[in-house]
Amino acid sequence: SPVLVIHGGAGVIKREMSPAKEKAVRAALTRALQNGYAQLKAGKTAVDAVTTAITVLEDDANFNAGKGSVFTHDGKNELDAAIMDGSTLAAGSVAGVHRVKNPILLARAVMEKSQHVMLVGDGAEEFARSVGIELVDPSYFHTEERWQQLQKALKEDAEHSRHSDVETAKHFG
């Protein structure tokens, strides 16, 4: 029987979750499961199900991917994604893109429409244009919650003379 499993990130701390956020996260995870599983029930492939489920989560600002991506030290949103088809060992991935609305779709395009496995940065976005993947203005990824998280981290950076200690505390990707 078809099966779909998803994750939306580790490091969840119960006491830091508001009831509203918890409700929104549960709803988004449920929607991702339902949409992805609908693909499987319709006889589509595991790659279709994975892509569909991840796209739902990328479009939801509660998750650190796509719309809800965190900021780099330089105040940019920098996204990565990968996909692999177990039946063929085909794989595609992208790293360091700033304008791709759904990086998982671009990773799939790399897998299916190029001879390559991993594209990065401007070149990956040029490839995205060539295969019709939706690009957005970088401001699409700007959310106030993530911006404030960066401001907090920058303030902590300034307050700590030993940068390595700070680096250890903010390792989740």
């Binding site: 029987s1 078809p2 099966v3 499993v5 998803i6 994750h7 939306g8 990130g9 580790a10 490091g11 969840v12 701390i13 119960k14 549960r26 995870l29 449920t30 499961l33 339902q34 992805g36 599983y37 499987l40 492939t45 595991a46 790659v47 199900a49 994975v50 489920a53 991840i54 990328e58 998750f63 650190n64 991917a65 809800g68 780099t72 030290h73 330089d74 949103n77 996204l79 990565d80 994604a81 990968a82 996909i83 692999m84 177990g86 039946s87 060992l89 991935s93 992208v94 360091g96 990086p103 990773a107 799939r108 991993m118 998280q149 960066l150 981290a153 920058l154 390792h171 989740f172 990707g173």
Partner: protein, 144 residues
């Protein structure tokens, strides 16, 4: 980081992962997500997507390692994932979690942090969602 693994009606597996990286990251630092074998891997017997301190997933080639234990060493999926995610990676100083499915529909979602956003759905079509460590995954047996 978000991810998904799936087994379709033809018995084929797939894995995918997508991330916005790390808050305040510098120097073009890249985590595990785009690196096939570290955060994402699938073959004909196993599919894995990881989330956590990605540099440890790179060093352990975590997703590939889980699948190799399953497909070559015949280690049960749940044990293979637990050995890599909850033993090997923490022993080196890393942490995080993963989701995995094998070609028989067994699933597992190990993590060593307080919680992990996660969900699964099988033949009954009922979505199951959990966020915290004290919520029962019920994944020891194949999904119905």
């Amino acid at each position: 980081t978000v991810g998904a693994v799936a087994l379709d009606a033809q018995g084929h597996l797939a894995a995918g992962t997508s991330t916005g990286g790390m808050n305040d990251k510098r120097w073009g630092r890249v985590g595990d997500s785009p690196i096939i074998g570290a955060g994402t891997y699938a073959n004909d017997g196993c599919a894995v997507s990881g989330t956590g301190w990605g540099e440890y997933y790179i060093r352990t080639v975590a997703a590939h390692e889980i699948c190799m234990r399953v497909t070559q060493m015949r280690v049960p999926l749940q044990r293979a994932a637990a050995e890599v995610i909850n033993q090997e990676i923490p022993s080196m100083g890393g942490n995080g979690g993963a989701i995995a499915v094998d070609d028989e529909g067994h699933i597992t979602m190990p993590f060593n942090t307080d919680g992990m956003y996660r969900g699964w759905i099988g033949a009954d079509g009922v979505p199951h969602v959990a966020l915290y460590g004290d919520e029962n995954d019920g994944t020891a047996e194949p999904l119905p």
